[in-house]
């Protein structure tokens, strides 16, 4: 283990026997023994190598079933790897699968002390930290109620609060941000940032790409049990985003292109102000589209259009040469070039995709349409607001 490493994951492979995932019984064991059949296995992780440095915060992203939680459990020591090994330096506290392992029949107070005892913290010490724990969790007098009466939000808040307050050297967090209200999420992020800045090591899983990007020093992308990429948060979120879109485009759901193909949108790309292609939305938040088309015959009065959409809300904004009043008298072989500049500064943070179309002026003939040809990601909106787009607002309030 390198000096300066807090966690070192070496050639970790994890296979789960599938029979063990379902109901296990003596019957299966006996039957399997007679049939001399090896139980089917599910390979959750394959040769994972990763080192987390002391004081580093590492984010792990990946689709459901990629092995993120398994990896975290292996670091926590609750699951033993089939091959390879994990070494960790310091006290590990973990918040796996929402909740610190509370017993439903015990009160919040009893659970807090039990967790402290499991983590090896003397009772006297826990007593001193107790108020801070309850305070952070914000559950007030519910602390003396059995936790089975807690709402899921309260449960997670108390779990997070205990996990953080026992002052571990390494904190493992699996998707806390998915639960809890906006206020608690903000406090969680703040607390995790404090934790990070005090030189402690943090490993977290989240599907909230914005949050994980803001809190991680590095991000690892896990896909089908292998680490496919590790790097800076911004690059990794972009790369992950690209992967997801590529997967979505490969699926049947995203019909990618159609039309009469009398003229084709041959290539679209996003560029920066100098015209060089970029993968990410430039900092000035201007989407510059460079579109090359080819035409197999002369077509009179075509229209070039585009649409910006989010996966969740559909089309956010769309326009075309007709709406914008740009006259295109005709296109002719071999083809040509179109460019759009779209100011995206009003958009909310999130993932966006762009589609393009080339059709007749009366919209009756679709020559070519490209769905989800481009994508971009907005890390943080220009200003705070609700919804998808920030519209200009003027507001006055006066007393009568």
């Amino acid at each position: 283990m390198n000096p300066g490493a807090a966690i070192s994951i070496e050639h970790v492979t994890k296979r789960f026997p599938l029979s063990a995932l379902g109901s296990s019984s003596l019957k299966h064991l006996v039957i399997d023994a007679f049939r001399r059949r090896r139980a089917k296995v599910f390979q959750a992780l394959t040769d994972v190598n990763l080192e987390v440095r002391q004081g580093e915060s590492l984010g792990i992203i990946g689709s459901n079933g990629a092995g993120k939680s398994t990896l975290l459990s292996i670091i926590a020591g609750t699951i033993t790897p089939t091959e390879g090994r994990v070494r960790a330096r310091g006290k590990i506290s973990s918040l796996l699968e929402l909740g610190a392992g509370f017993h439903p029949d015990l009160t919040g107070r009893e659970n807090v002390f039990l967790y402290g005892a499991i983590m090896g913290i003397p009772r006297a010490e826990m007593r001193r930290r107790f108020d801070a724990i309850v305070d952070f969790a914000g559950i007030g007098e519910f602390i003396d109620q059995p936790v089975r009466f807690y709402s899921s939000g309260m449960y997670v808040r108390l779990g997070f609060s205990v996990a953080v307050q026992i002052d571990p050297d390494i904190l493992l967090v699996d998707e806390v941000l998915a639960v809890g209200d906006a206020d608690f999420q903000r406090r969680c992020l703040k607390r995790m940032n404090e934790f990070r800045h005090s030189g402690k090591t943090l490993v977290l899983i989240s599907h909230d790409l914005g949050a994980i990007q803001s809190i991680s020093d590095r991000i690892a992308i896990l896909d089908h049990g292998t680490i496919v990429n590790v790097g800076g948060p911004l690059d990794m979120v972009d790369a992950y985003h690209g992967r997801m879109l590529a997967e979505a485009a490969g699926g049947a759901a995203a019909a990618t292109e159609w039309g009469t193909r009398e003229a084709l949108i041959a290539r679209v790309s996003m560029t920066d102000a100098s015209g060089a292609p970029v993968k990410r939305l430039p900092d000035d938040r201007i989407i510059r589209i460079s579109l090359d088309y080819t035409a197999s015959r002369r077509i009179a009065a075509p229209v070039f259009g585009f649409g910006v959409a989010t996966p969740e809300r559909g089309v956010v904004f769309g326009s075309n040469t007709q709406i914008e009043g740009v006259a295109v008298p005709e296109i002719a072989p071999p083809g040509g070039h179109v460019s759009f500049e779209i100011d995206a500064s009003a958009l909310q943070a999130g993932n966006y995709t762009m589609s393009f179309s080339l059709h007749s002026a009366d919209h009756q003939t679709n020559y070519h349409r490209l769905e989800n040809a481009l994508s971009f990601y907005i890390d943080k909106a220009c200003r705070g607001f609700e919804g998808v787009a920030a519209l200009p607002v003027k507001c006055t309030v006066c007393a009568n």
Binding site: S23, K27, G77, G101, H103, L106, E110, A117, I118, M119
Partner: protein, 267 residues
Amino acid sequence: MAGGGFLAARRELIESLVGRNLKIRYKGSALGFFWSLLTPLCFILIYAVFARLLKFGGLTPDYLQYLVCGIIAWQFTVGCLNDSLHSISGNANLVKKVFFPRVILPLSTALANLVNYILTFAVLMLYLVASGHARLGCGWLLVPAFAMHFALCLGLCCLCGTSNVFFRDTEHIVGVVSQAWFFTTPVMYPVSFQLDFLPAGIGWLAYLNPMTGILALYRKALLGHAIEAGGCPPAAAVAVSALVCAAVLVAGRQALRAGDARFGDVL
């Protein structure tokens, strides 16, 4: 199980878990902890009536006291067996989320039952002294009796707790086996019933059932009943039981070690 140092370091955790087990057992019941004292009293009452009605009184001297000693000691064993089934699988939420030495779970189950047993045992002692049946001349024998009994129970807790994680059938098997075990143990009848089946000189075979030796020690210590071993030296017979207790403890430890790496996968 790295010995004393490990236990000392984890003392507070073990205390917490034992406390939790006891709390959960009586959670919501009006009399709470008093049940630990009330239950043995009720047992004594029930068996007093039953022994009289069935005219079992002649089986041994002080038959009622003989029976009650056996029943109360047996309750500890069977209580551990039943609770141990869920000592690991019932704590899946802990096992899956936090790493700590897993032996703590069956250990705290056994200890919680021991606390309960000591309370009922105190009631039993009071009853024996009050009713004038106590013959405590060999009272020191309670020390090996408790040691053997606890070792046996801890071993069983490890075995059953581990086994039930992987094979849920364990629960049903334990139910049947403990019933059979009850009737093959001299709880309600004297050891001589079993010794009659064995040729003289190999009476120690009856003591392969560790509960036979444990109950014989308790009855010797509390009631002054001689340890019958069909011609074998009583000490040798009890030693056989003690060896079996130790073997069960070792087997339990091995089972727990073997299972440890896969608890997280299965739970």
